[in-house]
């Protein structure tokens, strides 16, 4: 599956990207797609068997599953 994680800070996206890659997960950093947020921050798109939440920084905002229909929000953190 392909997932997309958004974060409250750019640094959190950076750390999460490093963690994912370090653990062998195919991940890229990119600007947050307009379809999921009006924020202009940085997100991480990655391909994994599950959302791999333990590799994501504590300042994560939301995790989406990317499907042919679009972005399906799996979990949101306040």
């Amino acid at each position: 599956m392909t997932y997309l994680a958004t974060f409250y800070t750019h640094a959190a996206a950076l750390i999460s990207h490093r963690n994912l890659v370090k653990n062998g997960i195919d991940a890229v950093m990119m600007p947050v797609p307009r379809a999921v947020s009006s924020s202009c921050g940085t997100c991480v798109k990655y391909r994994a068997d599950d959302p791999s939440l333990s590799f994501l920084d504590n300042d994560k905002e939301a995790v989406y599953e990317i499907t042919d229909a679009g972005y399906n929000e799996l979990i949101r953190y306040e």
């Binding site: 409250y8 640094a11 009006s38 990317i66």
Partner: protein
Amino acid sequence: MEKTQRGFAGFVKRNWLVIVSGLFIGAAAVVLSALGNPKNMGFCIACFERDIAGALLFHKAEVVQYFRPEIVGIVIGAMLMAMIRKEWRPQGGSAPFTRFLLGMFVMIGALVFLGCPLRMVIRIGGGDVNALIGLGGFVVGILIGVIPLKLGFSLNRAYKQKTTEGLFFPILLVILFVLSLVTNLFAKTEDATKPGGQQAVWYAALLIALVVGALCQQSRLCMAGGVRDAVMFRDFHLIYGFISIIIAVVIGNLIRNTFSFGMTGQPIAHTDSLYNFLGMALVGWGSVLLGGCPLRQLVLAGEGNSDSAVTVFGFIAGAAVSHNFKLASSANGIGEGPVLPVLIAGFVFLAVLSVFNSKRRA
């Protein structure tokens, strides 16, 4: 990763909104100049906030005092659009005082150059070569600012706030604006030969700015973000908005016969290339650390972000400092005050912040 639609159709699908926003803003800038705003300054976030600082008597530069409706319109337009699209979210608490200081230095840099990144683009569209030098400084500033971003720079996260925290700023702006219309409390430049006295009729300015604010909220148009994303991710989405503004302004100026290519004789501009470059370098670096240019800060403040509202007050304070201590440039050249020491102080501040707020040191 998932499939991305390629070709021209895919390009249009991904970028139409930011291109339409850019074209509208460019056209709006030309129209507002035709309606009375200064030449090559149909829109300028820095200049208009400086005018508001003057209207509120935070500075006494009589040639630039006017409560500009455009600032109010952008904030309220963004707020209404965010509310309609259920994207209005009161949040804040991300290093507000640091953001205030960043706002001050960004404004000081902008007033050395004589314009925010938006006016820089509008000046380029008017043929002002000095603005191309400013663009060089802006890009260099962003390139420097990207380095700490890659090293984990952070101002820490914002948190959800009470509704009032997100509403106070737009409500305050509206109250002050109404007072500026119905009372004589605030200063207002009357001399139409001075920048502050060159005013498009208020309701047209407000209406156009409302649309601009709404479009910017939806498109996320940001001058600094465009260059940042291009450098960091090879993502040129926001740059297309940047280019669209220039195209619309060039066409508008050619239609109005106001296009003038060159360095000298440009409206409300000086020809000191070093300071044009340094001023915009400070703006570029500061804007990257803030996460957005002055236009974007207004839009975020409209979306309920009180950190951006604090940043806007930093801009206004920076404008007051610029004029009270003669740091602001004019068409005659740079200010008579300690411009270079203050610019250096700004760069030192940004350097210290960049180093100490990177993740490796935090």
